[in-house]
């Protein structure tokens, strides 16, 4: 895979975010797609490749009136869209299609036209995890963290600082769901959801969507906005069962995906101006900073608590407010990608100075999968 050969030339979220009970899930995909087409100055007939998760690519293509040459229905949870970017790069480079539309839409709060997500009682999760009272991500995704805190010496207050930091970014973003500043004490004393996670360390539950359009870099300058080049990507999976993670304190999928993306991009961590780490819960940026190599073992909590990821800090992270404060429809990865695109374009609500390289890292399922996309303001650096 050669770096900078493909670029994002269209990017947009749904017109509204938050509570959108007047739109079904498929319409959220379409609303975001139409906004992204307008952003790129393209019509529906210009799209010949479709990738999506949550809905089938067949359904999205037909709903939008697209007859594609290429589809990708990779669905590995919230980072699926990072994987779609990676696969789209390969498809465009190898000539399978010319212009890929990646869509996301999720009626996560209002549940309008959204399918169910229950494990069969005969699946391995159904037999060996579901009997023990897990109630979705708040009780399952969170399960490894006490082991992480013990093994790394990270404190509950340091983990709480993740929520505090991201709220500071959200305060600068008019589209963020939660904007009021909070303190570490307020986070720790908020309503307990699943010890040790309080409400403000758990993601929002909202409706929304987003879409991206990618083309070959050699025609990326022909569009209305500054192209955002794909410098490197990575993907991996580990296990659909949280109980079977190889090590509860580190994500194998994060490490594989992150290392591959950095290697493809040919950059080191010092070149990174901006970082998104998918934060369905407050512990994920801790795992992400360490597993991607931004922090040493046990250092991520203090790194965040000391303000390094805040506005003005040396590694601005989750600058839209993240899944904790901006929005979280269920599969948040698309919103992290959108924020990386905005930061590289220079159009973010809380814009970081001179972002030439943005790393966007996603998780799928509950430490089940991972995808990483490194974006740049120029094709070669």
């Amino acid at each position: 895979m050669s770096r900078g050969e493909v670029a994002i030339v269209g990017a947009a979220e749904t017109t509204e975010l938050g509570r959108i009970p007047h739109m079904s899930q498929i319409q959220l995909h379409a609303d975001a797609a139409l906004n992204a087409l307008a952003d790129a100055g393209l019509g529906i007939s210009d799209i010949d490749g479709v990738a999506t998760a949550g809905e089938s690519p067949t359904g999205v293509a037909h709903y939008l009136g697209i007859t594609p040459n290429w589809v990708d229905g990779t669905a590995v949870g919230g980072c699926s869209f990072m994987l779609h970017v990676r696969h789209a790069v390969a498809a465009i480079e190898s000539g399978l299609c010319r212009c890929v539309l990646i869509t996301h839409g999720e009626s996560g709060r209002s549940n309008v036209g959204r399918g169910g997500r229950v494990s069969a009682a005969s699946s391995l999760q159904g037999q060996f995890e579901s009997p023990y009272g897990g109630m979705g991500p708040t009780t399952i995704f969170t399960l490894p963290v006490l082991r992480f805190l013990k093994e790394t010496g990270t404190t509950l207050a340091e983990m709480a600082s993740v929520a505090v930091s991201q709220r500071q970014w959200a305060g600068k973003n008019p589209r963020a769901t939660l904007k009021t500043p909070i303190t570490v004490d307020e986070v720790l004393n908020d309503r307990m959801i699943a010890y040790p996670f309080t409400r403000s360390q758990c993601c929002l539950v909202t409706d929304g969507g987003g879409a991206l359009i990618l083309v070959a870099a050699d025609r990326a300058e022909d569009f209305p906005h500054k192209p955002v080049y794909i410098l490197g990507t990575g993907e991996s999976t580990e296990t659909p069962m949280i109980s079977q993670m190889a090590d509860l304190t580190t994500s194998k999928a994060f490490k594989v995906s992150g290392a591959r993306a950095f290697s493809e991009a040919g950059i080191d961590h010092g070149a990174v101006d901006h970082l998104m780490i998918y934060d369905a819960f407050a512990h994920l940026p801790l795992y992400g900073l360490e597993d991607l190599g931004f922090c040493g073992r046990g250092e991520a909590g203090a790194f965040i608590a000391e303000g390094n990821t805040l506005p003005g800090g040396r590694l601005p992270m989750n600058t839209n407010g993240g899944g904790l404060s901006y929005m979280h429809s269920g599969m948040y990865g698309m919103y992290a990608l959108q924020e990386s695109v905005r930061q590289v374009r220079g159009t973010a609500a809380a814009q970081v100075d001179a972002v030439d390289v943005s790393v966007c890292h996603g998780v799928g399922g509950m430490f089940a999968a991972s995808g990483t996309v490194i974006m740049g303001s120029s094709a070669t650096r």
């Binding site: 069969a120 009682a121 005969s122 391995l124 159904g126 037999q127 060996f128 995890e129 579901s130 009997p131 023990y132 009272g133 897990g134 109630m135 708040t138 009780t139 399952i140 969170t142 399960l143 490894p144 963290v145 006490l146 082991r147 013990k150 309503r191 307990m192 959801i193 699943a194 010890y195 040790p196 996670f197 069962m241 949280i242 109980s243 079977q244 509860l248």
Partner: protein
Amino acid sequence: MRIDFTQVPVPVPTPETEHFWAGTLVGELRLQQCIDCQTTYFPPRPFCPTCASRAIEIVCASGRGSLASYVINQRPHPAFDGPYAIALVELEEGVRMMSNLLNIEQTPDALILDMPLQVTLQPLSDDIVLPYFEPRGSRS
């Protein structure tokens, strides 16, 4: 914390897991071990996840383990009468299982990581007996 065992989602065995549930029915916690590379593993599958050998055998776990991690869920669940821990238990044999913890307070003060645990089996139906864990030395 009390569990209403009539409200626990009942596992449905498959051909690959049938030996596990046949084991709990007769008081055994059964794992699998690779004859070629000696890896003991869980959850069940008819080949070794380390070396892919199909030469595997069923072995009985000691039932002893320790508390690897947990959360204490505060939201109501029909099978539980109050906040309850969902735990990850590391067995002596080196495999990890999800479970609940019986015969102990469901509080951060009582639930100490690495505390020694032992298996305790509870019937959910005529066919399915579910493994739970309790502090080692409990007389359940």
